[in-house]
Amino acid sequence: MKRLILLSALIALCFISCESFLEEEPVGILTTSQFFNTPNQIQTAVDGAYIGLSRPFTSVFLGLPISEFLTFSALPGFSTNPFGTGPDESSFVRLDPIDPGNGYLNHAFNTVYVPMENINTVIANISETKVINDVLKNRYLGQMFFLRAYHYYYGVKLFGEIPLKTTPTESISDVELPKAKVEDIFNQIVDDLEMAEASGLPWRDETGHVSMGAVKMLLAKVYLEMAGYPLLKGAEYYQNAYDKSREIIASGEFSLFDQYAELRNPANENRGEHILMIQRQSNVANSELHNAVLPPAITSAGNIFNSSLLPTLEFYNSYMEGDSRTEDGAYFFEYEPGRITTYKYWDELAASTPPSGANIPLFRYADVLLLCAEAKANVDGGITSDPTAVEAYFKVRNRAFPNETIPTSLAVDEILKERIWELSFEYLLTWFDLQRTRKTLDVNNGEMVNLIGHKATTHLRAFAESDLLLPMPNEQVNLNPKLSEPAP
C-alpha cells in the first residue's frame, strides 16, 4: 500500500514539476569550445542530436505510460484512457479547453527547442570544419537539416506560430524571441529539407540514421501541409507533394510488408516499409510503448496505468467489414470479448524479457503511398484516375482487402479515410491530417465530415477552431512575454 501511495504521489508530482525534478547537472567537464576537433567528436555530436527524437515517446515520469505521444494522441477522439493518470491527460481525452498551465504544453514546447539547440550547435560547428571530408560533412549536415525541419514541423503543427531560431544561443541577453509566422516557419522547413536533399545522403540507411527517403518523405508531407489549412496554398503545393512522393516511389527502394505482423518484426527494423524509426535498444535506450498499450488489468492492481491509448469500440467498428487490419495481431487485438487494444506497438520479445528494445516507427512507406494519391486527387479537383495515384492507394488498400479490385478513380475523402484507418495511433499523423484538412471520420457512419462542429465520441463537446492549436505554455510565457503576442 505504501508503495502505491508513493507511486501516486510521484505521478501527481510529475504534473507539477517534472521539469525541475528531472533536471540533471552534468558532471563531466566537456566544454563546447574544446569540442568538434576530431572526426569522432563530430560523430558523437551528430548522434547526440538524434536523442531529441525520442522525447515525445519518453515517459515524463519513471517509465509510466504518460508521454506526449500517448496524451496528444487522444486529440482526434478515437481513443480513451480508461484509468486516467491525471487531469492533464484527461483534458486531452475530453477535449477540455486546454489550460495553459497543463504540464504537457511546456514539455512539448521543450521538445521542439531543446533538441534544436543541439542541432543548431552541430550545424554551426561543423559547417567550417576541415577535420572531415566534404562528403561526410555534407551527409552530417543533411541529417541535421532534416532534424531541424522535423522538430519545427512538429512545433508549428502543435502550436502554430512559434519562435524561429537557427543559430546557437550565444548570450543570455535578448533571449525573448518573438513568434514567427506559420508561413515563415514552413518556408524554413522547406529550405532545410532542400539542403538535406542536396547533401548526398543514401536512399536508405539501415543503421537508422536519416536517409534520403526520410528527407523526401518529410518534404512531401510538408508540401501537403502547405497546400491545406492554414496556409491553403492549394494546387501548386499538391502538385509538389505529388511529385516528391513519386520520386520516392520511383526510387524502388521501398515496399510494403506483405503481413502486418512484419511491421513489428525486429529483423525488419530500418528496412522495407520503415523509412525512419527511433532507434531503441533494451539496455541503453528502451521503449515504453509496449507497456503503454498493454490491455487494462481489470482485476489486478498491478498495471494500473496501462492502456493509456485504448481505441474506442466505435473507432474499431468504423473499419469496414473484412478489413485485415482489424484481425487480431494486425493493428488491433481483442483481449476480451468486445474489448480492443491497439497492437501496433506490441513487442513479442518484451512480453517475455522486458524492457522493450523495439524501434519506434516514425515514417513508413504506406504514408507516402497514401499522400501521393491524396495530393493527386486534389490536383485533379477532388477525384483522380491517374494510374500512379490509384496504384499507390491500392497497394495500401489491397493489403487490407486482398479480394478487392483496383478502382478506376478515387475521391479525396476515400483516401483520407484510408489514411485514418491505416495510420491510426501513429504519432500525431491522424491529428495533423485533421488539422490540415479540417475533416474527420464520423465513426458512426464511416463518412468524412467537417471537423469543426463535429463531436467525437470521447469528447465532451464539438471541435471548435480554437482546439486546432495548443496554447502557449504558461511557463514559457512567464519567461518570454512575447509569446503572448502574435508574430509581428
Binding site: 542530436a49 538524434y50 480508461p82 486516467g84 487531469p87 492533464d88 527547442y113 525573448e176 541503453v284
Partner: protein
C-alpha cells in the same frame, strides 16, 4: 567579495553531456549540450552594516544584547530560468541585489534567585525583512513563486481558489468552461478567462519573526528545563496534501477527499470527484488552497534532572550522580495540516517553503543516568 558556496563547478563554461544511445541495436555514444556558458558571471558581494547594544542590568541579573543589521547582497548568484528557445532551462547568473534588514535580540535574565530556588530565562528574538532591490528589470517565477523588485523574496504567487462552482452558478461557470463541482479561481483582472494575470501573492515562505525561549528552574537538587521555539507569519506550500488528495482511480488518498463537492456539499474547497474521463480541469498546485499558514509554537525540549547531594555521594566514593528525564519535541501547536511546519527547502536558496513529504520530527523520550567516580 564573499562568493557563494552553492554554485557548482565550471558554471561559466558551456558544458557537454555524454550519454549512451543506440543505432541499429549497437550502443553508441551521443554528446549533447549540458549547460549554457555565462562568461559574464562574476563574484557575488555583500556589504553589511551592524550596530549592537549590550546592556547589563540589576547587578548582572539581566543581560540584553540587541543587534541591528542591514546587509545588501549584490550581484546575487542564482540559477536564472531562461525561455526554452535558448535550448536550456536556465543559467547561473548575477541576478541583482537583495537587502536583508533585521534585528536580533537576546535577553538572559535571572528572574528569581534564592538559596534554594533559581529561575533563569533566555530569550532570543529575530526579525528579518528582505527586499529585492534590483533585478535588472526582470521578474522571475521560481516554482510557485515570484521574485520581483520591491517585493520580498520567497513570496508565493499563484491563483486564488475561491471554492467550487455551485449548482446556482452553472452559467457563470460555463463562461470559464467549467461545470458545477469544478474549482472556482478568482478572476482577478475580470476578463472572463483564467490567465496568468489572475495570479496574486499568496503568502511568504519566510517568517515575520522567530522566537526561542529557554526557562530553567532549579530547586535543591532538581532542575527543570523548558525550551520553546516559535515561528510566526510564514506560509508553506502543502504539497504533500496536494499530492495525496489525488482523485485518480485506484490510488490511495487522504481522507480530506471525502469533503469533495457534491450537490449536497457545495461549500467546500475540494472539487467534485469524477471518473477519469470526466475529470475536473487541471489542478493548480500552488493555488491558495495549497498555501497554508505555518506559524507554530513548539515545546522543543523538557528536561528534568535530579542531582544527588555531594555529601550523600561521598559515602559511596562518587563525585557526581544525576538522574534525568528528557522529552525532545514534546508538543507542537500549529494550525498547519502537514506533518511538521518546520520545513526544509525543496531546492536551492530561493525555493523556500515547499513542504513535500517532510519527515516528521520524532518525539524522543530519554532517561539519563550520569555517574562520575
Amino acid at each position: 567579495m564573499v562568493g557563494n558556496a552553492e554554485i557548482g563547478d565550471f558554471a561559466t563554461l558551456a558544458r557537454l553531456t555524454t550519454s549512451l544511445t543506440t543505432f541499429n541495436k549497437q550502443p553508441v555514444t551521443g554528446v549533447t549540450l549540458g549547460a549554457l556558458a555565462n562568461q559574464d558571471l562574476s563574484w557575488e558581494s555583500s556589504e553589511q552594516f551592524d550596530i549592537g547594544i549590550e546592556l547589563g542590568l540589576f547587578n548582572g541579573r539581566a543581560d540584553i544584547i540587541v543587534d541591528f543589521y542591514n546587509k545588501v547582497n549584490s550581484d546575487l548568484l542564482y540559477f536564472k530560468r531562461l525561455p526554452s528557445t535558448t535550448g536550456f532551462t536556465g543559467v547561473m547568473d548575477n541576478i541583482g541585489d537583495i537587502q536583508n534588514r533585521g534585528v536580533e535580540i537576546g535577553i538572559q535574565t535571572i528572574n528569581i534567585l534564592t538559596d534554594k530556588f533559581r529561575w533563569n530565562t533566555g530569550l532570543n528574538f529575530t526579525r528579518n525583512v528582505n527586499e529585492v532591490l534590483n533585478l535588472n528589470g526582470d521578474i522571475m517565477y521560481p516554482w510557485s513563486g515570484r521574485i520581483m523588485e520591491g517585493r520580498p523574496l520567497n513570496e508565493f504567487f499563484g491563483f486564488k481558489r475561491l471554492g467550487v462552482w455551485s449548482l446556482n452558478e452553472v452559467d457563470e461557470a460555463a463562461t470559464y468552461g467549467k461545470l458545477p463541482g469544478d474549482v472556482k479561481w478568482q478572476d482577478t483582472n475580470n476578463n472572463g478567462v483564467k490567465d496568468l494575470d489572475d495570479r496574486v501573492v499568496l503568502g511568504n515562505g519566510m517568517p515575520k519573526f522567530e522566537a526561542n525561549m529557554v526557562n530553567t528552574f532549579t530547586y535543591g537538587g532538581f532542575s527543570l528545563l523548558v525550551d520553546l521555539q516559535s515561528m510566526y507569519g510564514l506560509s508553506l506550500a502543502q504539497t504533500t496534501r496536494h499530492l495525496q488528495q489525488n482523485a485518480a482511480v485506484r490510488v490511495n488518498s487522504y481522507t480530506v477527499i471525502l469533503d469533495a463537492w457534491t450537490p449536497t456539499n457545495q461549500n467546500t474547497q475540494i472539487p467534485a470527484l469524477r471518473t477519469p474521463n470526466d475529470h475536473p480541469s487541471p489542478s493548480e498546485v500552488a493555488d491558495s488552497y495549497a498555501i497554508e499558514d505555518a506559524s507554530f509554537l513548539r515545546v522543543r525540549n523538557i528536561g528534568l534532572t535530579y542531582r544527588f547531594m555531594p555529601s550523600w555521594l561521598n559515602s559511596f566514593h562518587l563525585t557526581n550522580l544525576s538522574l534525568g528525564l528528557n522529552v525532545e519535541n514534546a508538543f507542537l501547536f500549529t494550525k498547519y495540516s502537514g506533518m511538521d511546519p518546520e520545513y526544509t527547502s525543496l531546492g536551492s536558496q530561493l525555493d523556500q517553503g515547499v513542504d513535500i513529504y517532510q519527515y516528521p520530527k520524532p518525539r524522543t523520550i530519554s532517561i539519563n543516568l550520569n555517574v562520575n567516580f
